[in-house]
Amino acid sequence: MSRIGVFICHCGENIGGTVDCEKVAETAAKYPGVAYSVDYKYMCSDPGQNMIKDAIKEHKLTGVVVAACSPRMHEPTFRKAVSEAGINPFLCEMANLREHCSWVHLKDDSTTEKAEELVKVLVEKVKRNQPLEPIKVPVTKTALVLGGGIAGIQAALDIANSGHKVIMIEKSPSIGGHMSQLSETFPTLDCSQCILTPRMVEVAQHPNITLYTYAELVGLDGFIGNFQASIKLKAKSIDHDICNGCGDCIAKCPIKKIPDEFNAGLGTRTAVYVPFPQAVPNKPVIDRENCTYFTRDGKCGLCAKVCTKGAIDYSQKDEIITIDVGAVVVATGFDIKGTDFFPEYGYGRYKDVITGLQFERLASASGPTLGEIKRPSDGKVPQNIVFIACAGSRDPAKGIEYCSKICCMYTAKHAMLYKHKVHQGKASVFYMDIRAGGKMYEEFVRRAIEEDDVNYIRGRVSRIYEKNGKLIVKGVDTLLDAYPVEIEADMVVLATAGIANEGSEELAQSLHISYDQHNFFAEAHPKLKPVETNTAGIMLAGACQSPKDIPDSVSQASGAAVKVAALFSKDELTRDPLIAYVNRCGPPTYSTCVGCFLCVSVCPYLAIEKEQIKDRNGNLIKEVAKINPGLCQGCGTCVALCRSKSIDIYGYSHSQVFAEVMALFNERSLENV
C-alpha cells in the first residue's frame, strides 16, 4: 500500500495568491494512498526541504509529490532532498502549480480545482513510480576530430594539450583547410600561412595526436563515451613511411593540366601531387581519377621509375579502420558558391568574374601569380576592379537567405590588398549593408574607404556583361536616388555565399546529428549550447555550423575542446535512467515481444537490437527486441508503437500514464487501473 506525501508550496504569493493552497492540501489528504499532506510558504527553502525530509521519516512515506513550480525548475532540488531522507529520488514527482496554474489563471475556484486535479494526477503517477538508479557508462578517453582546418587544428591541439588522445581525419591530402588558402587576414593583415603553418606542424608532431589525411569517416556507431568510428583511409598509392618527400615524382608526372583545388581552379597541378608547398604531411599522393596509370590500365608509371626510394605503390587499396572514441568534434568546414550560380553575372562564363576565394589565391604570395593581381583571362593587371558583396547571400529567391557573415570583412580586405598592390587602380565595392561587428572590424572597413580610397556604392548589381574586353557592371547608387552606375571593369570579384559542404547532409545522418535547412549542422541550443549537438558527445567547431571567420572558428573550437576535456575528466558517465526496455519473463514465453521488429526503424538512436533467446543446447527459441540502454535516450516512440505493449519506459510507463489520464475528471475510484 502506497504512503504518499503531498507538499503544497505557496511560493510566497506566486501560487498562494491565486490558489487556495490550504484547501488543496486538505483535498489531497483524502486521495487514496496519501498518508500526509501539508502546505508551506516556500517548499524549496531549507525549512521547506527539511519539512519533506522529516515527513518522509515520520510518516514512512513511499513517495512524494511536491506541488510547486515547474519541474524544469526544481525537480533536481526536491529529488535530492528526498534521497537525503533515504528514499529513491525517482519516487518524487512535481505538480506544476505555478507556471501551469497560478501564473496563467485568475484567482478563482476553478483555479484551485485545477490545482487539486494536477496534484491528484501526480499522486496517481507517483504511486506507480519505481526506484531507479542512474545509468553509468565508461568513457573512452580518445577524441575524434573530423576535419583539419583551423577549427579542427585548434580543437585537436587543445584536447591533446589537456592530456587526451586525439584522432584527426582530413579528407584532402593535407591539413590546413580554407585558412591555408587565404592571403592575408582581417583586420590585422597578417599573413595567413605564417600564423597557420606552425600549428599544422604542431598537430603532425604532437605525441597525443594521430593524423590521418586522405581519410573519410564512413560510419559512427555507439553513444557518448563509447563511439566506434569507421574510417576509410583512401589509397595514397605512395608509401609515406618510405617517401622522403623529394618531389621527383611530381616533376616527372606528365599529367599537368588538372585544375588545382588549392588555387581554387586558377592554376593546375599534376596527378601525383602535394596540394601546396607547406602541406602537412609534405608527401605526395596520386590522384587516381586523373592518373593515366589508373585511368588507362597501367600506362605511364613514370613516377615509379624516378622514385629512388621505391615508395610508389600502385597496388595500395582503400582501407577501413575502426577506432573507439569517447567524443567527436565535427569541424568539417564549409564551401562557397561558384560564379556559375549567377545567371545575371554570366553563368560563370566570364573568366575575369571570380570568387573571393580565387582572389585570395591571386593575392597570396604562394598563389599562381605569386601575389600579383593579374586577371585570369589574359594575365593583365586590372586597372578597374569591382567587388560585389552579398553575391548569393541574403538572396532568398536563389535559396540562400542568410548572411554569410564573413564577406563584408574579406571584401574590404580584398579591396585594400588590391589598392596596396595596384596603387593607381580603381576599386569599387557594391554592397547592401556593411556588417563589421567585431573587434577592430569597423575601423578596418573605414580604413579601406578613408585611407585606401575604395569606392563603396550602396546597391546590388543587376547585371554583368562583357564588351570590348571590359566587364560592364550595371548598378545604381541607392544613396543617390538610384543614380545609375555603370562601371567598365577589368575584373569582378563576387563575394559568393558561404554554404554547407556537399555531402554534409549524409555526414549529419551518419553522425545522427541534426542540420538546418541549409545543411549546416545544428547546435543543441542557439544560445546556451552553441558547441554541443543534440547527440551527446558530439561537438561542433567552425564553419560547418554556420559561416564564420577565423577568430570565431578558433573560439568555438576551443569551446568544443573544453567540452570534450570535461567529458574525459571522469572515468564514468551517469545518465538519467528514464529509458525504454523490452519486457522479459520466464519460460516458455521469455518476453511478450513477438519479434516483428517494426520498432527498429522508429528509433532515432538505432538503440533497438535483435536478441536471440536460445535453449541450453544453443537452439534458437525465439528472436526478440532488446534496447541498448547506452543508446536509448528515452523518447518512447517505440513504446507507443509496440502493438503488444511489450516495450515500456521508466518514468512514463504504461501504468503511470494510464493512471494519470484515468485519474482526471473521474469521480469514481480507479478500479480498472
Partner: protein, 302 residues
C-alpha cells in the same frame, strides 16, 4: 499531317502579317496544319493589365476557353506579348479557383483552363528542328543576332526557360540553318514594346542600344520571334538611328522567315517585302565580317 491549335493574335493580322505568312509557309513544308481557334479575340496585351486585372485575365481566357471547347489541349501563340497574357491567364486560373469561377461567369462559358499556350520557339524545337537539317536547301551565310526581348524568357517563374539571362534556343536553330549565331549582351534587353506609339523616342533609344551592341559585335542581321520586337527594331529604325553614330541597316527577320529562306521558299511567300528596313537576298553573298570589336567567346554548344 499534325494539327495544332493556333492563336495568331492581332499583330499577325496587321502590322506583322509576314510573321503569320512565314509561319504558315514553314509549317506547310513540315506537314503541320495550324488551325486558328475559331472566333478568337484580342488578348488585351499591355493595355488591359495596365488598367484592369479582371479584364486582363478574362480577355485571354475567352480564347483559352474557345480552344478548349474546340477540343485542343495546347495552343501555339506566336506573339510574345499575347503568349505572356495567355500564360498568365492560364496560370492564374489554375492557381485560383475563385478567379476561375468569376471568369467563367463573366465569359458565360464553362471551361477548366487546361489549354496551355506555347511559343513559336517551343513549336520549332518540338516539331521543326528534329527534321530541319535535312530540309535546309540554301544554308544562310550570315552572322545573326538572336533577339529574344522580354516576354519570351521572363519572368522565369512563369516562363520555364533554361538560361533566361542568356538563352540559346534560337541560336541553336540558326546554327542548323547554316548561319553563325552572335554572342552578344543585349538579347534579353527590352525594346520598349508597349510604348511604341505613345513614347516613340524612348523606344528609339532602347532599340538603339540593342542595335549598337549587336552591330558592334559584327551582326549582319537579327532574328526575332516576337512581332513587337520586330516592329520596334524595324519600323522604329529611324527613331533608333537618331541615337546612333552610324546608321544601322541590318534587317530584322522573324525566325520563321529565316527558316523559310533556308528551305528555299520564295521571298514574297515569306512576306519579306513588307519590312521597313529593306531585305535583299544579296545580304547572304557578302562575307561575314570578322568580329570588329571585343573578343566575345563562342556561344557554348547547345
Amino acid at each position: 499531317m499534325i494539327k495544332i491549335a493556333y492563336f495568331p493574335g492581332c499583330s499577325l493580322e496587321g502590322s506583322s502579317k509576314e510573321y503569320n505568312e512565314s509561319l504558315l509557309a514553314v509549317s506547310k513544308e513540315f506537314e503541320i496544319q495550324l488551325e486558328e481557334v475559331h472566333d478568337w479575340n484580342c488578348c488585351g496585351a499591355t493595355a488591359a493589365h495596365n488598367l484592369n486585372k479582371v479584364l486582363s485575365i478574362s480577355l485571354p481566357a475567352r480564347t483559352l476557353a474557345l480552344a478548349e471547347k474546340q477540343g485542343f489541349s495546347e495552343i501555339l501563340v506566336p506573339c510574345a506579348a499575347c503568349y505572356s497574357r495567355l500564360l498568365t491567364a492560364y496560370n492564374e486560373l489554375n492557381k485560383d479557383a475563385a478567379l476561375l469561377e468569376k471568369v467563367k461567369e463573366i465569359l458565360e462559358i464553362d471551361f477548366s483552363a487546361k489549354v496551355k499556350p506555347f511559343t513559336v520557339i517551343d513549336f520549332i524545337q518540338k516539331h521543326i528542328q528534329p527534321k530541319l537539317k535535312e530540309k535546309v536547301k540554301k544554308p544562310l551565310n550570315a552572322k545573326i543576332a538572336c533577339y529574344y526581348g522580354c516576354l519570351l524568357v521572363r519572368p522565369p517563374k512563369l516562363v520555364e526557360v533554361e538560361r533566361y539571362e542568356d538563352p540559346l534556343m534560337m541560336e541553336s536553330i540558326v546554327k542548323e540553318l547554316g548561319a553563325t549565331p552572335l554572342d552578344w549582351a543585349f538579347k534579353t534587353e527590352c525594346c520598349g514594346a508597349g510604348l511604341s506609339v505613345s513614347r516613340t523616342s524612348t523606344v528609339g533609344k532602347l532599340c538603339s542600344k540593342i542595335l549598337d551592341d549587336a552591330l558592334s559585335r559584327g551582326a549582319t542581321m537579327f532574328a526575332v520571334a516576337c512581332p513587337m520586337c520586330q516592329s520596334n527594331l524595324d519600323m522604329r529604325r529611324r527613331n533608333a538611328n537618331v541615337f546612333l553614330n552610324e546608321k544601322a541597316d541590318a534587317p530584322v527577320l522573324f525566325i520563321t522567315q529565316l527558316i523559310g529562306l533556308a528551305l528555299g521558299l520564295d521571298k514574297k511567300e515569306l512576306g519579306l517585302q513588307r519590312h521597313f528596313v529593306p531585305f535583299n537576298l544579296e545580304i547572304f553573298d557578302k562575307p561575314i565580317p570578322k568580329e570588329t570589336l571585343g573578343k566575345s567567346k563562342k556561344v557554348e554548344e547547345v
